[in-house]
């Protein structure tokens, strides 16, 4: 039953990803991207990461996509001029196919290993995913967390300085 849902969501995600790269109007691309984000949020729930799914919907589908749509409408962008057929398209198709073949080859040949932890689905059910994330983030990853806050501050100041008419 779960595998049917998996393939259904995969189909929707890939079709929306195709819409992102093929739609002529940027607004349609943005809506396809929102659709992909929701599909990935469904995957995060299936992978026992409900906090990540909530963050995905709030930060990506909420904040970042609203920012992108706002800029598209602010600049009043029309549809893109018809794409010329160039060698560039062929080369980029070859490059992206190479990326895909590479990954599929390593997935076929390799085996997934790594440092195993003790966060079982049962533990997530009983303790709660948010609590586990919070505990890890504020003990083991405290310094990267602080650095991320400084990065966000720099981004806010930089965005204001760049978009202002005269500095």
């Amino acid at each position: 039953m779960e595998i049917i849902l998996f393939y259904l969501v995969a189909l929707v995600a890939v079709i929306s990803g195709y819409l992102v790269i093929r739609c002529k109007s940027p607004v349609n691309s943005a809506l396809g991207l929102v659709n992909t984000f929701f599909c990935l949020a469904i995957y995060y729930v299936m992978l026992h990461a409900p906090f990540m799914a909530a963050i995905q919907i709030m930060v990506y589908a909420g904040a970042i996509m609203v920012l992108i749509l706002f800029v598209i409408m602010l600049l009043n962008l029309g549809t893109e001029a018809r794409q010329r057929y160039t060698h560039g398209v062929v080369w980029s198709a070859i490059a992206s196919l190479l990326v895909l073949v590479n990954v599929v080859y390593f997935l076929k040949r390799g085996r997934v290993t790594g440092a195993e932890g003790d966060i079982t689905p049962f533990k997530i059910e009983t303790l709660g995913h948010t609590e586990l994330i919070g505990k890890t983030m504020f003990t083991e990853f405290l310094l990267p967390f602080e650095i991320a806050s400084i990065l966000l501050l720099v981004a806010i100041v930089g965005a204001v300085v760049l978009a202002k008419r005269e500095v």
Partner: protein, 100 residues
């Protein structure tokens, strides 16, 4: 039964599509959205591996990727507005002022 390879295959397909979009599109905002698509496919890889290995570190990393993506969105879109004000276009083919 869904294995970690299923999730990673979906992530690989999305990443390849994002690469194709970045290399072929001309509109800077659409290129930006394709980069977001690639970042999200990497996030899916991180979370599937984190769930498979029962280790929390991958999900913390996804959190930081999201923070960096938010900062990137703010600065990138401000850059596009500044460029549009100068050239009345956000076509990447028009970004040639540093070319000689």
């Amino acid at each position: 039964m869904i294995s970690v390879y299923h999730y990673m295959s979906v992530a690989a397909i999305l990443f390849a599509m994002g690469t194709y979009g970045v290399l072929t599109r001309r509109n800077a905002i659409v290129i930006f959205m394709c980069i977001e698509l690639m970042l999200n496919s990497v996030n899916l890889t991180f979370i599937s591996l984190s769930s498979y290995l029962q280790n929390m570190d991958g999900q913390i990393f996804v959190f930081f990727v999201m923070a960096v993506a938010a900062a990137e969105a703010a600065v990138g879109l401000a850059l596009m507005i500044a460029f549009y004000r100068n050239r009345d276009s956000i076509d990447v083919d028009d970004v040639n002022m540093l070319k000689w």
